[in-house]
């Protein structure tokens, strides 16, 4: 992981000169500075500054209601659609301020994929679930679509299980399969960042293990941010951990350090309470 993080990032547009974020570390693809999110008066995320190295997994941990989901949702600007929600501070993705005026929010969500806590398959066939995104973006050729569907179902480790029933309803799949389908659907948009909000918390242990395995695989190509309540899971899949409490990041560092030598007592309490 370290070696990955130290490599200079090959940005899609590497001629960018980053003017409005002078302290932007070149290795991180995604970074927030003093990000605060309010629901009305209530401050759900409080001046959070985090950066996410490319091709790594960062786990966000912390008690319920501490703002992890809110933080995650503000990255791909899903909170725009909530009327009472207001955001302060900056989010940079490949050096671009995601709140700047001319950024296309649909393009953000295309490049920063998201998977939710509960699997949300569309009431369509498995094929159409994965193909929905590419079709919207102009891929019409049936053969090409089939290629995309196969590729992404394989990436999501679902292909072998569903290759003979691509045209049956996605609602017939088990919960774990549905969640992997949702991951495949997100991957089909060719994102570079994946935001996973407790992707395995509604699943059985076997499915959970499959999802974790999958995350370790996907790390090679994607930058992953995962919210989880499961400390073992965080320890197994993540390279870095950020501990949230009451909307603030209390501690952020390499997984090993956070789990073995946390700087803050509170972090230790939370992790031990969770594990023990």
């Amino acid at each position: 992981m370290q070696s990955v993080a130290l490599q200079p990032v090959k940005m899609k547009t590497n001629r960018i000169k980053v003017v409005d974020s002078p302290d932007f570390p070149r290795s991180s693809v995604l970074q927030t500075t003093d990000l605060s999110v309010y629901y009305g008066e209530h401050c759900a995320v409080n001046e959070v500054s985090l950066s996410f190295p490319k091709q790594s997994v960062t786990a966000l941990i912390g008690p319920s209601g501490c703002g992890k989901s809110t933080f995650l949702r503000s990255i791909n600007r899903m909170n725009d659609d909530i009327d009472s929600c207001r955001t302060e501070g900056k989010i940079y993705y490949e050096g671009v301020d995601l709140h700047s005026l001319n950024v296309n929010v649909h393009e953000i969500r295309k490049q920063i994929g998201m998977v939710f806590q509960r699997p949300v398959p569309f009431a369509k066939s498995i094929f159409k679930n994965v193909a929905a995104g590419p079709m919207r973006y102009g891929v019409k050729d049936k053969r090409e679509l089939l290629g995309i569907v196969e590729e992404n179902l394989k990436k999501a480790a679902l292909w072998e299980e569903v290759k003979d029933q691509l045209h049956t309803s996605a609602l017939r799949l088990s919960g774990g399969q549905q969640q992997r389908l949702c991951i495949a659907r997100a991957l089909a948009m060719q994102p570079s960042v994946l935001l996973l909000d407790e992707p395995a918390s509604a699943l059985d242990p076997v499915s959970t293990a499959k999802i974790e395995e999958l995350i370790s695989q996907l790390k090679k190509d994607y930058t992953i941010v995962i919210v989880t309540h499961n400390m073992q899971q965080a320890a197994r899949v993540s390279d870095e951990v950020a501990y949230f409490y009451m909307g603030r990041v209390i501690e952020h560092g390499p997984t090993e350090q956070i789990f073995n030598h946390p700087h803050h007592e509170q972090t230790a309490h939370y992790i031990n309470g969770r594990i023990g």
């Binding site: 969500r109 569309f122 609602l171």
Partner: protein, 294 residues
Amino acid sequence: MSAKTKDRLATAGLYVIVGIIITVLAGLLGFVFVKGIPQLSWQFITTPPQIFKEGGGVGPQLFNSFYLLVLTLMIAVPIAIGAGIYLAEYARDHWIIRCIRVLIEVLSSLPSIVVGLFGFLFFVLYMGWGFSILSGAFALSLFNLPLLVRVVEQSICNIPKSQREAGWALGFSKWETITTIILPAALPGIVTGVILASGRVFGEAAALIYTAGMSTPIIDFTNWNPLSPTSPLNPFRPAETLAVHIWKINGEGIMPDAAAISDGAAALLIISILFFNFTSRFIGNWMFKKMGAN
């Protein structure tokens, strides 16, 4: 009287009430079917009515009813889907929206004769369409719009929020999410509602007597050019429907077998309504199943 006795008496009373209701309603259906079904024959449902002698049928009327239904749905359903989408997905709590909702509710509560008279004034006279299928179809569309809008809005609202968020998270715009994800998911509910509304359209008469008219010209069922005056498809010809026909021959029918014809026509009408009722259930269930929802 003790509370126990009262309880027993009241229960007995309720049984009596239900007995009365069941007798009346069963008698009603029984009457129509027992008297009407013997009248039904292929000849009855295909030949035109006779004015002075026996043996006429209701062929054109039956055709008119279905044709009017199709035209009405073609006009009303797209508008209802549009309006339902807006009210379910875009409308904020704003005084304009509240006014609009009140207006739609008022429209749904207007008596059909009032809507028919408006249609008479506007479509028949002002637009100059005369007594015609088109005027009738528009009047019926107005009359059924509020119901259809409610059906669409309700079906869309029943789709969980998470489906929308999943669409947005793929980079879909709101509109794309609605058209490619929400609307297909809401389709079974919409179809069920539309077919149920079809029953209402099919049986409506008061809104039609001054719009689609009370007569049917001689039509030639071999001529399917919609522009020809004798074509059944010509939307500018007057068209008496089955329901209107029942009303008319009971008021001014001079054929000797008017009663028998009404019996047959009433049975036909109720059978059609039953048909819509069962199809809506059947298709709704089938679509839900096909989508894999349990």
